[in-house]
Symmetry: D2
Subunit: 365 residues, 4 copies
C-alpha cells in the first residue's frame, strides 16, 4: 500500500522488484513445477510452467479459502491437468516459494551491504590518522580517529553480512510435508535439489525457527545501517559539519530554498525504524497450533516480505549515501583540538582491515 508514493523511500532497489505479486506468483508456480518433477512428471512440470494465470482472477477463491494457493492450484489443474499439487499442501508451496524468493532477494541485499562495507573500509584506510572528537552520550569525550569510526562501521557491516549470508545458506530450505507433514521425504529431497535449496529433514509447518532466524539477520543488518545513518545525520548538523551527503541532486525542501537535507541517511532511518516491530511479529507468530497454525503463516509471509523490502531499501540508500559522503577533515581536526591522542587507532584499523579483506567462506547457493 502507498507503493507508488512511498515506494522510492521504502522500496528502493533491486530487492523490491523481486517481491512483487508477479515475482511471488512465478515462484509459487516454479515450486509446483519442481514438485511435479520430483514425482517424475516432467511433462506436467512443463505444462505448469506454461500455464497462464491472471493475478486479478485469484481474489474470490483466495477469500473463500484464506489461501492464495487454492485458486492457483485450481487454475493450474485446469490448464495442466489434475495431477498438479497432488501430495502437497498450500503451506508446502508457500514456505518453499518464500525460500526461493529470499535466496535471490538476500543476494541483492548482500551486494549493496558488502559495497557499503567496502566504502567504509576505504574511509578507514584513508583516514586512519585523521583526528575526530569522540563522542559518548552525545557529549565530547576524547579525540580519536575518523578512520576508526569508519572501521567500526565496516566491521559491523561485515558481521551483519556474514550473518545474513549464513541464514541464507542454512535456513532457506524447502518445506514439503504434504497435508499433515508425513509425506515421504524423498519428495522434499528432490524438490530441494531441483530448486537449489536446502533439505530440512522434517517438514516445519508448525516449527518456525527458520523464518525468525532470517528475520533476525535482516534486523541485524538494519540495526547496523541505522546506526551508521544516525551517525551521519548527527555529524551533518550545521554546527558540527564534519560530514555531508554529497549527491548534488539531492536534499531540496518543498518550502525552504537553501536547505540541503541529508536525504539518504534520513531515508535509511525511515526504513530501519520500521523493522524492530516487524521482527517481534515474526517471533510472536511462532506459537502455531498443532500441525499447522490458524493463520500465522500468512502473517509471516506478509511480514518477511516487508522486512526484506525495507532492508533492501535501507542497504541501497546507505550505499548511495556512503559512496557520496563528503568528509570535512579540517573541521574534524578543529573540533578534536590540538595534539589529539589517537591511542591504538592505527593498529586497530589495520587489524580490522585485514579481517575485512580475508577471504570469506562463501556460501555456494
Amino acid at each position: 500500500v502507498i507503493d507508488i508514493l512511498l515506494g522510492p523511500l521504502f522500496g528502493r532497489g533491486a530487492v523490491a522488484e523481486m517481491l512483487t505479486d508477479e515475482s511471488w506468483l512465478r515462484a509459487l508456480v516454479q515450486v509446483e513445477a519442481a514438485h511435479a518433477r520430483a514425482r517424475g512428471l516432467r511433462a506436467l512440470a512443463d505444462a505448469i510452467l506454461a500455464a497462464e494465470i491472471d493475478l486479478d482472477q485469484l481474489g474470490p477463491d483466495t477469500a473463500r479459502t484464506a489461501s492464495p494457493l487454492v485458486p492457483i492450484v485450481r487454475t493450474l489443474r485446469e490448464q495442466a491437468g489434475p495431477d498438479v499439487h497432488v501430495g502437497a499442501t498450500s503451506q508446502d508451496i508457500v514456505d518453499t516459494a518464500v525460500a526461493l524468493v529470499l535466496t535471490r532477494a538476500l543476494q541483492c541485499v548482500l551486494i549493496d551491504a558488502r559495497a557499503c562495507a567496502d566504502v567504509a573500509a576505504g574511509l578507514a584506510g584513508e583516514h586512519r590518522d585523521a583526528p575526530i572528537m569522540g563522542r559518548t552520550l552525545l557529549q565530547h569525550a576524547l579525540p580519536t580517529s575518523f578512520g576508526l569510526r569508519a572501521a567500526r562501521w565496516m566491521s559491523g557491516l561485515d558481521d551483519a553480512c556474514d550473518w545474513l549470508d549464513q541464514v541464507r545458506s542454512t535456513d532457506l530450505v524447502v518445506d514439503m510435508g504434504g497435508p499433515i507433514g508425513h509425506a515421504e521425504p524423498e519428495i522434499a529431497t528432490a524438490v530441494a535439489a531441483d530448486l537449489g535449496l536446502g533439505d530440512p529433514g522434517l517438514a516445519w509447518h508448525g516449527i518456525r525457527l527458520r523464518p525468525v532466524r532470517v528475520a533476525s539477520a535482516l534486523g541485524g543488518m538494519c540495526g547496523i545501517l541505522g546506526k551508521i545513518a544516525r551517525d551521519v545525520t548527527l555529524l551533518a548538523q550545521q554546527e558540527i559539519a564534519e560530514v555531508a551527503e554529497g549527491d548534488p541532486a539531492r536534499g531540496g525542501s518543498s518550502s525552504i530554498a537553501q536547505k540541503n537535507n541529508p536525504v539518504a541517511s534520513i531515508t535509511v532511518l525511515m526504513c530501519t525504524r520500521r523493522v524492530p516491530a516487524l521482527i517481534s511479529t515474526m517471533f510472536a507468530a511462532m506459537e502455531q497450533e498443532h500441525e499447522r497454525g490458524a493463520g500465522s503463516w500468512q502473517v509471516e509471509w506478509a511480514t518477511i516480505t516487508e522486512l526484506v523490502r525495507l532492508t533492501g531499501s535501507a542497504a541501497a540508500w546507505a550505499r548511495d549515501m556512503l559512496e557520496h559522503l563528503k568528509v570535512n577533515l579540517a573541521r574534524m581536526a578543529e573540533l578534536a583540538g590540538t595534539d589529539p591522542d589517537l591511542g591504538s587507532s592505527a593498529t586497530l584499523i589495520e587489524r580490522a582491515l585485514a579481517a575485512h579483506s580475508a577471504p570469506r567462506s562463501l556460501t555456494p547457493r
Copy 2:
C-alpha cells in the same frame, strides 16, 4: 506489497480502497486546494483540483528529497501557478491529508464494527437462557449462558467503536504550521473549516500524540475482533463443535477434500496479529527531533495506513463471520451438563443490551 495475492486477506473491504496511492494523491491535492482557498485564492484552488498528476512520474523527485510532496508541488506549480503551497510545508499537507483520509476510512471501519456489535446483540438476546460450558484457562469451569458470552463480545465491540469514534472526532485535525511551525493560525482555522477537520491550536509537527491515539484505538478494535475470532476458532474445533462458520461457499482446502476451515475467523486473526507491533512503531516514532523529525513522519504515514487497512479488513471479515455463524445449542447444552446454574446471566444481558441500544452521542463529522 503482495497486494493482489494477499489483498483478499489483509485488505478486504471498502477501507482498503480508500488507502490506495490514488486516494492519497487525491487527498494531498485536496489539502493543497484548501490551503489555497484559505489564502483567498479560489482560482488557484480550482486550478489545483483540475491538475493532472501522473503518479508514475513522481518517483525520481521523491527519491531526491525523501518526500513525495516535493514532486507533487512541482507538478501543481507547473499546471496551476507558482502560488501553490506558498507558506506551507510538506508535513502540513501530509498530516492534514492523513486526517482527511482517516476521517473517511474510520467511518468505514465503524460501519462494519457496529454491524458486528448488532449481530452479537442479536445473539445475546436470542440465547440469553442457552447454557454453555464456561471455560477458563482452556478448561471447563462452570456453566453459563451463551447469550452472556455474546453480550461480552457486543459490549467489547461497542466500547471499541466508541473509542474509535472518539479519536475520529478529536484527533483528526489539520496541521498547518508552515516550514517552522509559526505560520499565522488563521490559515489552519480556515483549512480546518474547509475540510471539515478539527483545528489544533498549535501545529504538531514534532508533537505526535494524535497519531498514537488513533493507532491505539485501532489496536483496541483489533484486540476485540481478535478475541472473538479466537473464541470462534476454538468453539469450532470438531471435538467441541458448539459453533461453525456458516457460509457454505467457504473453507475448502488445497489438499483435503472434506475440510471446512473457519476461514473468516482465521483471517481476522491473520489481520489482528500483525497490529500490536505496528502500534509500537507508532509510539517509538514519537521521539522526533526539534521542529520536525528526521524521517519519522513517513514512518507514521506508512504504518498508520497499514493499521487502518488491517483493522478494516478484520472488521469486514468479522462481520461476515458473525452474520453467518451457526450456533449448535444442543451441543452446548450437552457439554454444559444438567441443571446448569446461569447465575445472573439474564440480568447482565438485559443491562448490556440496554446500554447497547442507548442513543450514542454521535460525532458529527
Copy 3:
C-alpha cells in the same frame, strides 16, 4: 530484576514505591476485604485486613496454581475464616487490585508530569521573543522563538496529562464477575463504591480494552517526555550549546574527568525507549480465550506494572531536568542570525498559555 543497581534509573520516584510486592499484596488484601464488606461481612473484612501474610511463603502455592492469589486466599482463610473470597475468582481480585494500585500510581505520574508542563509554560512565557534556529530533519530551517518550542512541549504534556487523567477516571474499574463472570452485579457495584473505583457493568475477564487504554495513555506520556529529552540532548551538544542540564551535582563519568553528561534527559530516554514494545505486549494479550485466557492476565499484570514504573521514572527525571535547565539565550540568538522572523510565535504562545491555564475538568477520584 536488577532492581537495586538500575533502580535509580528505571524506578525513580514515588511511583516505584507503589509498585513493590508489599504494595501489591496490600492492594490484593484490600480488595478481598472490600469483597467481604460487599457481602455484608464486616467482621470478616476486618479480620482480612488484620491478617499477616509472609510474602516469602507464597511461592510454592503460586507455582502449583500459576496464580499468586491461591496462596493468599489460603492464608487469609486460615487466619480470617473460610468465607474469604467466596463467590470471587483470582482474576476478580487481581484486576481490581490493579485498578486500585494504578489509581494511586497514575496520580503520582500526573503530579510530576503537570509540574513539567508548568516549567515548560514558564519557559514559553519568559522566552516568547527569544530567537532560536528552527531545525527540521536535523538541519537548520528558519529561525523561530524558543518560547514556541517550550509552548509545544507544554501543550504536548498537557494533552498527555489529560489523556492519562481520562483513562484514570474511566478505565480503572472493578472486575467482579466470579468464577465464570455471571456473579450478581450488586457485588461489583458495592466493591466499586467501597474502593472508590468505577463499576463496569459487565465483568471484563476476557474483554481487555481497559488495560490497553491505560497502557496507551502511558505510552503517550512517555512519547512526549522522550521527545523533550531528545531535544535537550541534541541542544546540549557542545557544538550547539543552546541548553545545558543545570544540576551541578550531576553528569560525571567513570573515566573522563571534565565530562558533564546530560544525565537526566538521557535517563528519560532510557525509560521511554523501553515502553513502545511493552505496549505491543498489552495489545497482543487481548486475544484471550473464552471466559478467561490461558495466562494472559498475568502477562498484563507484570507488563502494566513495568509500564507505570518506567513512566513514573521518566516523569520524575524529566521534571528534574526541566527544573534545572540552563538556557543560553546568547548562543540561540547567535545561531538564529540577524533579524530573525518569529512569525506568529507570540500569538501562538499566548493562546497556548491561555489553554494551559484554563481550569481543567478535574476528575474526582
Copy 4:
C-alpha cells in the same frame, strides 16, 4: 518488580538466581579484577575481589551519573586504591559482565531445554506408531502419529538449543575499548583469556550486533517452547483430552474445586508471550549515537536480563510439564479413526531421532 508474587511464574529455576543484583555486582567486580590482572596488577585484583560493596549505598551516585558503575568504581577505589578501572570505561565493564553472566545463565537454560528435547525424543520413540488426528487451522485434517508430533517438538528444541549454544560461543565476548574505544587491544585479549570469554577484535560500544544475536536465539527458544505449550493446552481441553499435565500437586483453582488447570504449559505461555516485544526493544536499541549511545546500553542491559530470565523460566516450566505429561493413547486412537494412514511417520521419526542422538560439536566454554 513484583519479583516475589510473580517470581515463581516468570523467574523460576536456576537462571533467575544468576540474574540478581548480587550476581550482577559480583560479575562487575570480577571484570574489574580481570582488568587489573590484564594490566599486571595482581595485588590490585585481589583487593578488588576482597572489597565489600553495599548495594544499598550505590543509588545516589547512580542517579548522579546514570551509571551504576560510577559508584562501584568509587567504592573499589576507596578500598583497593586509585588504579582501579584506569583505562576502562563503564560500558567496558558492563558489556563484559553481561557476557560473563550470560555465559553461565545460558548454560542453565540449555540444560533444561536439552532435557525437554530428550523427553520429546522419548515420546517420539515410544509412540512412533500411535495414531493421532492431525490438525491444521484448528480443524481435523488427516491422521498421523503422535510420535511424529513429538519428533517435531524434539527437532525444534534441538535446533533452538544449537542456536543458543552457538551465540553463547561466538557472541559472548569482552568489550574493552576504554573511554573512546581505541585502547590497546592487548588488554581486551588478556581480559578475555582471564574470564574465558571471546576476544572481539574491535570494541563494540556502539556496534550492537552481539546483543541482538543473543536476544534472537533466546526468542527462538521461547518460540519453540511456546509452540509446545500451546499444543499441550489445546490437547488437554476436556473435549479432546489426548494429553494431560500429570503432576498431581498442581492445577487447583481459587474458586472451583474440581479444576485441574494445565498450569505448567500455561506458565510457559505467560513467559514466552512477553518475549517478542523485548526482542524488538533490543533491535531498536541498535541505533546508538557515535562512540557510545545516549542511554541505550542500559536499555539493553535491563532487557536482556529480562529475556534470559523469562527464557530460563519457560524452559524450567516446560521441562516439568514434559516430564510429567500423561498421554492418552486410547483417546488419540479413537479420534484418529479406523485404519489411519501414518504415511512416512516411522521413517521420519527414525531419522529425526538419529539426528538428535548424533554427537553435537560442543562448544568448549
